[in-house]
Assembly symmetry: D2
Homo-oligomer: 387 residues x 4
Amino acid sequence: MGDASAKPRGRDIGIPFEGDPGPLNAITDVSGVEVGYTTLIRGEGALRVGEGPVRTGVTVILPRGRNDREPVLCSYFAFNGMGEVAGALAVAESGRLSGPIGITNTHSAGTVRDALVAWSIREGVPGFWHLPVVGETFDGYLNDIDGMHVREEHVFAAIDSATSGYIAEGNVGGGTGMIMHGFKGGTGTASRIVRHADREYRVGVLVQGNTGTRAELRVAGAPVGMELLDYGSPDRGHKPATKSIIIVVATDAPLDPHYLERLAKRPVLGMGRLGNTGHDTSGDIFVAFSTAAPGTREHLEEPEYGFPKLPLIGRGLGAMSDEERNAPSLMLSLLFQATVEATEEAIVNALVAAEDMRGRDDRLVVAIPHDGLRVALRKYNRLVAGP
Amino acid sequence: MGDASAKPRGRDIGIPFEGDPGPLNAITDVSGVEVGYTTLIRGEGALRVGEGPVRTGVTVILPRGRNDREPVLCSYFAFNGMGEVAGALAVAESGRLSGPIGITNTHSAGTVRDALVAWSIREGVPGFWHLPVVGETFDGYLNDIDGMHVREEHVFAAIDSATSGYIAEGNVGGGTGMIMHGFKGGTGTASRIVRHADREYRVGVLVQGNTGTRAELRVAGAPVGMELLDYGSPDRGHKPATKSIIIVVATDAPLDPHYLERLAKRPVLGMGRLGNTGHDTSGDIFVAFSTAAPGTREHLEEPEYGFPKLPLIGRGLGAMSDEERNAPSLMLSLLFQATVEATEEAIVNALVAAEDMRGRDDRLVVAIPHDGLRVALRKYNRLVAGP
Amino acid sequence: MGDASAKPRGRDIGIPFEGDPGPLNAITDVSGVEVGYTTLIRGEGALRVGEGPVRTGVTVILPRGRNDREPVLCSYFAFNGMGEVAGALAVAESGRLSGPIGITNTHSAGTVRDALVAWSIREGVPGFWHLPVVGETFDGYLNDIDGMHVREEHVFAAIDSATSGYIAEGNVGGGTGMIMHGFKGGTGTASRIVRHADREYRVGVLVQGNTGTRAELRVAGAPVGMELLDYGSPDRGHKPATKSIIIVVATDAPLDPHYLERLAKRPVLGMGRLGNTGHDTSGDIFVAFSTAAPGTREHLEEPEYGFPKLPLIGRGLGAMSDEERNAPSLMLSLLFQATVEATEEAIVNALVAAEDMRGRDDRLVVAIPHDGLRVALRKYNRLVAGP
Amino acid sequence: MGDASAKPRGRDIGIPFEGDPGPLNAITDVSGVEVGYTTLIRGEGALRVGEGPVRTGVTVILPRGRNDREPVLCSYFAFNGMGEVAGALAVAESGRLSGPIGITNTHSAGTVRDALVAWSIREGVPGFWHLPVVGETFDGYLNDIDGMHVREEHVFAAIDSATSGYIAEGNVGGGTGMIMHGFKGGTGTASRIVRHADREYRVGVLVQGNTGTRAELRVAGAPVGMELLDYGSPDRGHKPATKSIIIVVATDAPLDPHYLERLAKRPVLGMGRLGNTGHDTSGDIFVAFSTAAPGTREHLEEPEYGFPKLPLIGRGLGAMSDEERNAPSLMLSLLFQATVEATEEAIVNALVAAEDMRGRDDRLVVAIPHDGLRVALRKYNRLVAGP
């Protein structure tokens, strides 16, 4: 990933955001969450399917880390379903998720899905079957996507690299070859801390962003896209792109699947802040999980009909006190607000961290220029001092 | 309601059903549930809109009875949404329901809805706003439905008559003028007791049935509709009807809204047992609630912006032990099975309890003949001795 | 409605918007659409339930005007379902809507719904049953909502007043007593013209807005809410409000119900531009219809079983040419964009057109101050000359 | 597949069904539909993960055959979402499907999905990305499912073997190792011809069945499961199983995605006829497509931003006459009825065609005994002469 830690993030540029971020301002601020990447960049020049150029990768999110086998409570929302999120139906029905979440390119989602099955089997994740969650966005403008370069070993390597600390952004993992709002896109993250009464919860967001046009782009409300319309590719920035965005929301707030389904709807309001207009053929799909319930582990019953033992899936939020469960409407609204704010910042972070990329057929996608971005923000009095 | 208690029910006819019914074999077997009816029958002969003939009414279900202000957890499922269930969206979003459920005819659903609002205000049901659940089916073949004869006072009277004991079936309440499977339809109910390990729960079902063709009707699996195809209206029994069915499922099992949404899907399997083929323009909509959580009462916060105080709606299943919340997959399956069985029996009970009705323009709809039903069941070796 | 035509709108203030509005910049730019209001304002001082003060009303939208009995194709989306939209389930199932749409206060939705049934019967709208669409938002902070002051005659009067021309905004119709983003809210509208290849379509939006906090409010991307945080009610503007917004999208583009469902999702991105964070207990529900298909009228079949004749509902987009039906992905994206833009402007127009209102218990809700708004926009270089 | 054509089907046993089947009584009665299987059976004795015993396979359905690149209109419904159907979200959003549908075991769904992507690339199926539909059910009781024995070449072989004629049932393809209603399950199919006025359409159903308990099984309404409760595995047949069923519905009726979504709900009523009670952890997911619209082919627009050309996806039912599009409500109901009837028969056919199978760890699952089935049907007067 290179010395990614040196790269500026949205706040370093001087972009103002609302709310209180966590210490890392990343999804890993939610205790237990680990993120790992495998980034595949090799080859140049003309596309030769199966050989390259390769500009892709895989991102994995382990909701409880590599060693905790407890499921998390989980739900999803498809704002624009024109994409793949394997496992979405099972998550919605069961309200639970075991094992890692993967994000990759469109044509490798199956490989990553079965690799997560294989990993779950190898690691002894409880359950007789595994229905992993794997999302995707399309990187075929820069990447030899039809060459299907992501392999099982890349998934395992991404899991092995997973960390609960600082995580890279931009051209990394599944986001390596992505394009967003007419600039180089990719992976971004942010977090918020929510406090109310005597309780404190965290919300973390990770996006793999590949959606939006340049003309519609707003940063901190400023019409940055129109200001930079001719940057890099002067005649193209205002034309529609039709891509996708996968957004994962993690929280340690004790939300049951019913509330997680509601939480999973809120990222679209963050997209709205960026000016996104919800283009046709964009797969804008969001997954939300809560790490709060330690009592969701699948137990085993007596054998039935000689069949594999049945998992217990009815487990609720048993390990929390009544106080904790008694989340008021205000707390819910604060969690919703945190999700919107963190989504907005994670998308901006993906843009800011991305770097120019040249890919198949020498196509070049420029990153949003930091100086140009500052100029545009200053023009609209939205540039603040860095932290 | 007349001396309804003398009327035979499905089991009295000798129809075999599966599972263990509760003591009343009715939705009122779920502790706290009360049901009341207002039945409006007056006038004969030619239709004069606004005058009659009137063959309609209103049914109310009070999930916790008249005096308990605690909300229940609730969800719904629209198998075939071609009908009205006011309040459905709010129930799905909040997972909660305060106040009674109403069921009436299609053109009076608004009146009943606002009458329930008025009752909730008068009775001091907590909340600054009220979003009652009111379903409907169409009785315009027999009833002067455009005359809109159901009034606010009929709703109040139905609530005042509500009981937690024996409840009438057939041509009563909202079901008064309904038609089902080519016979007189109406209101029916049944219940099941579910036992597993050391726990015992109840599931109760109430239907307002107005759906299905005669030809497709199966009772206890026997093709009863074909056997009685020419009964009463020989040339018509095999033609499609396109109506609706509202099904309310009550349980004391500690299911959260996520599981109640799943429970609310199961009645369609009970309809399938009757042979129903899911006709176009039929509004087949199901509501499920759990009385288990006593901790769902809406609390009040500090005033916000001078606004009405905010209700607390995040309350989960706090008052139950971990054991209770730890409902295994098997228990869920047993509750699903109970719902299917009780739905099947409640629909049959509606048919069996209904009586011939002559309505507008002297139209006659015959009830399923008990003798003919027995003959048909015997032919297929499905007639059993009564209880 | 007063001399509403003299009131400035968002563009008159100098707020920049994107896209090309229609001639009226209103939902009535979609040919055939008519909008009518009844506004009820009377009484002052302390609340006396049933007497007042009254600050409410009803809005009606006639998709094809008063005299065209053809249904429109229709769908809906509940971003946050904590409200009532009667008829939503039927619209989703049938893909069609006959008769007017109503919008009113929370406790009068039933009355308005049945009044629309009565009007449909009286006017001979085809169909044996009527399932009108009626939305609501909560005006109980200013209005004697429990007094249920909206009556059938007010609905009829709103229909009688409906026009296809200029329509009032702000404190009118169902929006009379609403509050939005910490300022006086209400009714707003806007439209866009979409051109691609040789085709031109219109999208019109009408909102009844009662949602959002002041602190989060962005206008044209500028953080106007924070700039005006202390205006009028200094200690309250930053606190959460939890209300609702009903958004109706009309288009003459030939979209079938499947695409209308997708179109109905896009208003949430417009809300996002305003900074809305999707508060708990807000009923944010959107309805979209297309007037394009003249062939959707319900026909009648032969009587079935002596029952009312069955409507034909399978009619598609028969009257359009293949060219028209062949709407490309780009056209869809442009329609989505138009919906987002028109939603953003309609919400701003509702804020700008609203005026200070004093209601029950002498509560005062201030309108957004036009001068203060200009100052804030100028600070962020987002003030433009009027049209 | 062996000499499968010699195997009796449900009708050969003397089971009565309703409605008119097509000439093959199979999904291939819908013109253009082709079905292919790869069946993997090898090894015996104790489970050694990665080696076997192998009792699995893959089924492919090509909606327009191998050589027609036109998409079909498509939708889906998850009655019980506890399974994987890759591509479901994209089908729901776009209303379209290009390329084959796959069905396999739970742990190979990703491999099959990416193999279909690879096939679509190789064959030049239009589109810059591919989002294939792949369903699964769990065969881990008999099969070394963790060994993940289905490979890309098996998917290609299944496609190469696809036929529009007679197709095998029972222990074939993805259904090889499945269990249903306490007996050996697997693959089954049936069809219906629907005639109304001067139009005639076909509905074909294919199931991969792995769901249900023995005790609840009804065949033609007769309580066959209770009659055969002790057959083969006397102490086990009445216990709950919790599995899955994938049901694919094909039709040549001109239904748009909105109606296909409704059609996709109807198979659950067919499951209800079998007595199914909707067990927890069963993934009961249904896909419906229409081959009627030849005008759905994806066209290409001008390049946008140097990006891959955009597909046109707005194409409706342009190539049909107004008459055809003008499908009345009655026709819809007949198509719904046909779907229910064909689902019922396809499930029975899967049971009847299946044969005893011994798999991992010498586990034996018995097929439903034909003689015992006849005895049970005769007892309930539901045995008819064969065709």
